[in-house]
Symmetry: C2
Subunit: 97 residues, 2 copies
Amino acid sequence: MAEQRAKRNLENVVFVGKKGTMSYVLAVVTQMNQGSPHVMIKARGKAISRAVDVAEIVKNKFVTDAKINDIQIATEEINTDEGNVLKVSAIEIKLMK
Amino acid sequence: MAEQRAKRNLENVVFVGKKGTMSYVLAVVTQMNQGSPHVMIKARGKAISRAVDVAEIVKNKFVTDAKINDIQIATEEINTDEGNVLKVSAIEIKLMK
């Protein structure tokens, strides 16, 4: 049960990276059309701008009844292969129908 | 009176653009140290990631009693010189002491 819930939660997350914006828009729209009432859009570093684009495009063009429920920003630490610790900003945008 | 308030409000805004992150960090820290209880950090397009960096650095390193009060994202329309309308994402991060 807990495992199922964990999987389900992971399915509701879209990590925005270096691909084109529309790939992530499609991923979010697909999840919402499959019945997820909310989708979390996450990104780090320079991909943060793209995550905002994704949320705005989904809301304005594809799922017009979706609303931005919550936005959080944070600093995450990444351990590099060389053993250094890098700090990088992160964003989480929660879209809800 | 209304004019004064308008000026005061404008003073509480830091627009993040293409300069180095620390220039904007300094601008925000200066405003907070001059007694502004809140500062609005605004950015558009690719500068959005930098705006998040600015907010996180101010909060974690310089004004440790500051909190992120509110984050809004939106789509803004820009009229180009050629008469076209460009849509661009924007962010507003409200930092509060």
